[in-house]
C-alpha cells in the first residue's frame, strides 16, 4: 500500500470548515519562554502546527482532528484550545 502523506490523508476525511471562528490560539511568548513549541509540532497527528523560520508556531486550524494532544503537551498558557462550534470541524464517517 502506498502510504499517503498527512495532507493527502486529511483530504479523505470529512470536515465542515468554520470560516468565522478559529478554535486555536497560540501564545507565542509562552511557547518561546517554555520551549514547548517542538513538542506541540511533533505530537500533533494532523500536523496542525509548524515552526516558522522566525521561530514562531503557525496554526492550520482547519486540519484539526480535535484530539487534544497539543493541549496536553503544551506549557500552561501556551495554547488556547477549545472545540470548534457545534456541527463544525472533523466529522468521522468510520471512527
Amino acid at each position: 500500500m502506498k502510504i499517503p502523506s498527512i495532507p493527502e490523508r486529511l483530504a479523505r476525511d470529512r470536515f465542515e470548515l468554520d470560516e468565522d471562528e478559529n478554535h486555536i490560539e497560540v501564545n507565542q511568548q509562552v511557547v518561546k519562554s517554555s520551549g514547548c513549541g517542538r513538542a506541540i509540532v511533533q505530537c500533533c497527528p494532523a500536523h496542525v502546527y509548524a515552526e516558522e523560520p522566525d521561530g514562531t508556531i503557525s496554526v492550520e486550524y482547519a486540519a484539526c482532528l480535535e484530539c487534544g494532544t497539543c493541549l496536553a503537551v503544551a506549557a500552561p498558557g501556551a495554547l488556547k484550545w477549545h472545540y470548534p462550534r457545534g456541527g463544525f470541524g472533523i466529522s468521522f464517517r468510520e471512527g
Binding site: 502510504i3 479523505r12 497527528p45 494532544t69 496536553a72 470541524g89 471512527g95
Partner: protein
C-alpha cells in the same frame, strides 16, 4: 428540602430532569437507561450527528452492552466477533507472537470490533426511541452553577446564549472533559497518564481480510503489538479487522514521546511500512485518518466523579484501562453509564441531587466489574512504563528462537544454552527479568 444548601424552590424550574453532554457510549447508555426509567432527558452532542466526533481503536468487550440491549449483536452495527487474539513482539527484522484462537470466545460472544460513527449513531437512535430528546450540532460552552453555603452546585449548561437547566448534569464529554475541568473535578493530568492514539481505517475486500487473517464468516482478529511499532516509545500498536476494512494504529505515551523528541506521525508511518505489517495492508487504501487522546493513568486518574448536581462518566472520568493484553474503554463507559443512571434515578426519586444524594453512582461503579478491574489493575500503568518492554524483551525472544531455528551446520546446543547466550548478549539482566516478571504478575 435543600440540595447543596440551596433551597430548590428559589431556583427556576428545570427544563429537564437530566442533561447529558456527549453522545458517546457512556452518555448514550446513561440517557437511554434514565429515559427508560421515565425521566426527562436531553442528550447534547457537539458533532453534526452522534458519533461524528468519536474515535476508538475498535474493540468493544460487549457483554455489558448485551445486558442493556439483548439483541445488540444482531441489531447494532458491529463489525466482527473477535475469536482470534494475536500478541506480537515486533522488532525491526524479527517478530515473535502468540496466536490465540478459541471457539469459546465466539459462544457466547465476548468482544466485537466497532466503528464509532456507526455504533454511536445507532445508540442515539435507541435513545430517541426510549424518549430521549437528542440534540446534535450543539457545543456546550460551560456549566451553569450557583453558589450555595456549601459551595458550588451545577444547575445546567450553557451554549452560546442558550441555557438548559436540569436537576443533574452528566459530563460525558470525553477524555478532554472541559466540563469536569471547569468545575475543578479534573486537574491537568501528568503526561505519563496520557497517550496519543493515531489510527487509519484501511479498506480491503471482505475475502482478502478473511484469507489474510485466517477468519471465516463474521469472525474477527485483534492484534496487540509492542516494540518496533512505536520505535521504542512506551505504548503499542494495534490492528483490528472490520467487515471490509482494517483499523490500524499506534498509541504513544506522551511523556516518552516528548522525551525521545520523536514525531507521532513518523512513528505511525514507520509502523504502516514495517516489513511485517505492510503485507497485511497490501492492496488497501486509507479511507479515514484520525486520532484520539487516551487516558492511561488507570485508577489514579479516576478522581472525584460526583458533585452537587453533576456526575462525570466514561472517559471524562478517566475510565480506561490498559493491561498490556486488553485495552479497554468502551466496556467501562457502559458500566459507568449503568452505574450513573442507577445513582441518578435514586437521587431523583429521593429528591436529593447533591453530591451525597448522587453518591449511589460511585458506590455502584466500584461495586461493578468495571470499578473492581480499575482497582485490580491499579499497578498496571506503572509496570507498563518499564522501558525494556518496548525493545529489549522482543529482541531477546527472537534471538533465542533464532539460535534454535538457524541450523547453520554448526553442531546444535541445548535450548537452555542458547537462551543463556542470548541473555548474555541482551541488555536485559536476570535480575531485570525476575523483577519485571514479579511486577508484571502483581500488576496484571
Amino acid at each position: 428540602m435543600t440540595a447543596g444548601g440551596v433551597p430548590e424552590d428559589i431556583q427556576p424550574e428545570p427544563d429537564f430532569d437530566v442533561v447529558v453532554v456527549g453522545a458517546g457510549v457512556a452518555g448514550c447508555v446513561t440517557a437511554y437507561k434514565l429515559a427508560q426509567q421515565g425521566h426527562s432527558v436531553v442528550l447534547i452532542e457537539r458533532g453534526e450527528a452522534a458519533g461524528s466526533k468519536n474515535l476508538s481503536g475498535g474493540v468493544l468487550y460487549s457483554r455489558g452492552m448485551q445486558e442493556i440491549f439483548p439483541n445488540f449483536l444482531d441489531e447494532a452495527p458491529i463489525e466482527r466477533r473477535i475469536t482470534r487474539n494475536y500478541i506480537n513482539f515486533l522488532n525491526a527484522d524479527s517478530s515473535v507472537g502468540v496466536d490465540y484462537k478459541d471457539a469459546r470466545l465466539a459462544d457466547p460472544v465476548n468482544a466485537v470490533t466497532v466503528l464509532r460513527a456507526k455504533l454511536d449513531s445507532w445508540l442515539a437512535e435507541k435513545c430517541e426511541e426510549a424518549g430521549v430528546f437528542v440534540m446534535p450540532g450543539v457545543r456546550v460552552d460551560r456549566v451553569l452553577t450557583t453558589e450555595g453555603p456549601l459551595g458550588k452546585r451545577v444547575v445546567g449548561v450553557k451554549s452560546g446564549d442558550d441555557e438548559l437547566r436540569a436537576h443533574v448534569v452528566v459530563a460525558a464529554d470525553g477524555v478532554n472533559s472541559f466540563l469536569a475541568q471547569e468545575v475543578g473535578l479534573r486537574p491537568k493530568q501528568p503526561l505519563h497518564h496520557l497517550a496519543t492514539g493515531v489510527k487509519a481505517v484501511v479498506n480491503l475486500p471482505r475475502e482478502t481480510i478473511e484469507a489474510r487473517f485466517n477468519l471465516t464468516g463474521d469472525e474477527g482478529a485483534a492484534y496487540a503489538i509492542v516494540g518496533d511499532c512505536t520505535q521504542g516509545v512506551g505504548g503499542g500498536g494495534f490492528l483490528y479487522t472490520n467487515q471490509t476494512s482494517i483499523s490500524i494504529g499506534v498509541v504513544l505515551r506522551l511523556d516518552d514521546l516528548v522525551a525521545k523528541k520523536k514525531s507521532a506521525t513518523d512513528i505511525f508511518d514507520h509502523f504502516l511500512s514495517h516489513r511485517f505489517i505492510a503485507p497485511y495492508l497490501e492492496g488497501g487504501e486509507i479511507t479515514e485518518y484520525g486520532c484520539h487522546l487516551v487516558a492511561e493513568g488507570g485508577l489514579d486518574m479516576v478522581g472525584e466523579i460526583t458533585m452537587d448536581g453533576m456526575v462525570v462518566i466514561g472517559e471524562a472520568a478517566g475510565l480506561t484501562l490498559n493491561t498490556g493484553l486488553t485495552v479497554r474503554g468502551m466496556d467501562l463507559a457502559v458500566a459507568s453509564g449503568v452505574a450513573a443512571a442507577a445513582g441518578i434515578d435514586a437521587a431523583l426519586r429521593e429528591k436529593d441531587t447533591s453530591k451525597v444524594g448522587l453518591g449511589g453512582y460511585r458506590d455502584k461503579l466500584f461495586a461493578s466489574f468495571a470499578g473492581q478491574d480499575m482497582k485490580t489493575y491499579g499497578k498496571a500503568p506503572g509496570f507498563l512504563e518499564v522501558e525494556r518492554l518496548y525493545k529489549d524483551y522482543g529482541e531477546l525472544l527472537a534471538n533465542v528462537l533464532y539460535g534454535a531455528f538457524n541450523l547453520d551446520t554448526r553442531p546444535r546446543r541445548h535450548l537452555a544454552a542458547i537462551a543463556l547466550r542470548a541473555f548474555r548478549q541482551s541488555p536485559v539482566k536476570i535480575r531485570h527479568l525476575i523483577s519485571d516478571a514479579y511486577a508484571g504478575v502483581r500488576a496484571l
